[in-house]
Amino acid sequence: MLKVLIPTIMLFPTIWLTSPKWLWTTTTAHSLLIASISLTWLKWTSETGWTSSNMYLAKGPLLTPLLVLTCWLLPLMILASQNHINPEPISRERLYITLLALLQTFLIMAFGATEIIMFYIMFEATLIPTLIIITRWGNQTERLNAGTYFLFYTLAGSLPLLVALLLLQQSTGTLSMLVLQYSQPLQLNSWGHMFWWAGCLIAFLVKMPLYGVHLWLPKAHVEAPVAGSMVLAAVLLKLGGYGMMRMMVMLDPLSKELAYPFIILALWGIIMTGSICLRQTDLKSLIAYSSVSHMGLVAGGILIQTPWGFSGAIILMIAHGLVSSALFCLANTAYERTHSRTMILARGLQVIFPLTAVWWFIANLANLALPPLPNLMGELMIITTLFNWSPWTILLTGLGTLITAGYSLYMFLMSQRGPTPNHIMGLQPFHTREHLLMTLHLIPVILLVTKPELMWGWCY
């Protein structure tokens, strides 16, 4: 773990001391090196549980895929931001990359934490760099509102979580996940305990986001610059999922009844946000709502608390992270050329950008969960386990799959097919950097088809 954490911390002097000519090359190369080192974590030495050389930071089948995704994403974020940050003064460029590296450090420490309070502090700590990235480097006036919504929704959920964790510490004496997995099941039988149950989960449900408390997400994703959108969609939402998976272990048997409203909200959210996607005019907003839809499925899978549910949730989280980030990169390429997110302004692109049309195609197919891509694996496992829990859910999840296919195809057809309007005939061709970015997103998705054991957690 330190093999990756210390180089990430040493990125800060690297960023500030490199000469301006080599800044982007150096940071991309170093973060790519760190990402390759993190790939070595994928060979784990024990079947279940944690692998750790110390008591405070550990890796295991549940969180290693998320850690690798986080490390993999930093070079991609730096690659994606190169174009729009380059015109700024050099110290602001350094500051931007510092914020990305800071976010990376906090995320590694959050995912690797074995003590729940450490996870909580790092979970909250990721808010500050993200807030600064969204509000300082976003492009429209709405970014201020977006930052406020983002910060306050997340904090309103996580402050009760802090109190709930302190209550847990008081009753069990420890908050180390290594110890808590062996503790006695808690006697949860009163109204107060029900509030405690809710307090434990609301923070993660807001972060995921669950349908009723999802309003921060479209604002934050749309107003953030591309690196902000990427990291939000790919990793920060997964913090919520990961936190929920860790906390659910301790929350039985109350979860059998109390999870009902949240599962219903999650499933209904899939349909509602999917339908909203079909009516969006803003490309990034469409991808943001599609994120809510997929994460609703993940939330449903986790709240069910079955082995297939958890496995499906992790697989869908990893696959959705890569694909959603890829879609945001593609949307950003359109934005950088037309300076607008409106979909009808950047349509019929297949004629002028043929290779990019391939990336759009693959990303949209992955988004709609085409077999054999891992998105389908995850969705199918979650849909199956929900069907096992209650057969009626197939109506909602099946309809949701249909609507997902609908808006993914809509996105593809709107942006790529159809007549190319005259005003975009003269757009700049795609850079190699952008093609590299897209391959680095999509090749892992395709490769994961061949070895899904890397992703599916402890349940197999």
């Binding site: 500051l95 906090f106 909580y120 502090i121 790092m122 909250e124 700590a125 808010l127 500050i128 600064i132 509000t135 300082r136 201020l144 930052g147 406020t148 910060l151 306050f152 904090l155 309103a156 402050l159 009760p160 802090l162 109190v163 302190l166 209550l167 510490q169 008081q170 107060g192 405690w196 307090g199």
Partner: protein
């Protein structure tokens, strides 16, 4: 002001507080508080501006009222129990009056109304002394008598202070008033835990002094008193805008900055004492204050305001103010959270 006069007055302010620290007799404590008030009055009015004189008058009246109430309460206690010692405060009437008087002295809600107006009339350095040093003597007395005061009163004072501190600051554009409401809110956090773990009150006070000093010294360095002038500080000192942004988030209590430490420890103590609802309520009221800190953050750092700026490079000229205290306080306001075990050990 004549430097000799200023030195004498500052030493008297220090003497008053130290006298109160060292006292075990209520009359000596009262005398220390009065010396403190009398000495700071000319310091507050030194600029002879009508607004400053008004602030001084308000401050003097409220503090004198509080001191008179302390005198009255101590004589009541002496009459009822025959004891003048600070630690032996057994009469409930006397102890409640003491708490009300000391709450008036430090500006706890609902006795907070003087605080924003007084702070607004002062210059920034005197305002800093008012927010930090002047709280020490009354808090010392409160810590010593906390065990005998009605727990309900302390809890009510705490919660209403955090609520008032949050809501009152929401409509302000003057920075000194915002810092006054922030002071009220932080005092609320300090009072709520005083009956359970006084060392956490000291930690909260220590971190509050560090963060407030960083905030006041930043405003003094960039000579801003309103949000609209705050928006142009990026041209005066760009690094200051970045670090003050983090100081503001620290005041709001966001991890992993120092301001999170007292909130975390206080919430932990409250949950240990089986008061999770009060803990949740306090935590959520901190969100209200965070809103106006966030507004300051937006104005100062995250947006470039469309104000008319005559030149964009005033940062090239060196400032004549000393920057070492600001640097120290800012660093401490940002990085002390990992040292929480050491700080806990120091204060236990």
């Amino acid at each position: 002001m004549n430097p000799y006069r200023r030195a004498t007055l500052l030493c008297s302010v220090g003497l008053g507080t130290t006298l109160t620290f060292a006292s075990s007799h209520w009359l000596l404590a009262w005398m220390g508080l009065e010396i403190n008030t009398l000495a700071i009055t000319p310091l507050m009015a030194q600029h002879h501006h009508p607004r400053a004189v008004e602030a001084t008058t308000k401050y003097f009246l409220t503090q004198a009222t509080a001191a008179a109430m302390i005198l009255f309460a101590s004589t009541t206690n002496a009459w009822m129990t025959g004891e003048w010692s600070i630690n032996d405060l057994s009469n409930p009437i006397a102890s409640t009056m003491f708490m009300a008087a000391l709450a008036l002295k430090i500006g706890l809600a609902p006795m907070h109304f003087w605080m924003p107006e007084v702070l607004q009339g002062l210059d920034l350095l005197t305002g800093l002394i008012l927010s930090t040093w002047q709280k020490l003597a009354p808090l010392a007395l409160i810590i010593q008598t906390a065990q005998t005061i009605d727990p309900l009163l302390l809890t009510l004072l705490g919660i209403s202070s955090t609520l008032v501190g949050g809501w009152g600051g929401l409509n302000q554009t003057q920075l000194r008033k915002i810092l006054a409401y922030s002071s009220i809110a932080h005092m609320g956090w300090m009072i709520i835990v005083i009956q359970y773990a006084p060392q956490l009150t000291l930690i909260a006070l220590g971190t509050y002094i560090i963060m407030t000093s960083a905030a006041f010294l930043t405003l003094k360095m960039s000579l801003t008193t309103k949000i609209s002038t705050l928006a142009t500080t990026w041209s005066k000192s760009p690094i200051l805008t970045s670090t003050t942004a983090l100081v503001l988030l620290s005041l709001g209590g966001l991890p992993p900055l120092t301001g999170f430490m007292p909130k975390w420890l206080i919430l932990q103590e409250l949950t240990k004492q089986d008061l999770p609802i009060i803990a949740t309520a306090m935590a959520l009221t901190a969100l209200i204050s965070l809103y106006f800190y966030l507004r300051l953050l937006y104005a100062m750092t995250l947006t470039i305001s469309p104000n008319m700026i005559n030149s964009t490079t005033p940062w090239r000229t060196q400032t004549t103010q000393t920057s070492l205290p600001l640097a120290l306080f800012t660093t401490a306001a940002l990085g002390l959270l990992p040292m929480a075990p050491a700080i806990l050990m120091l204060t236990t």
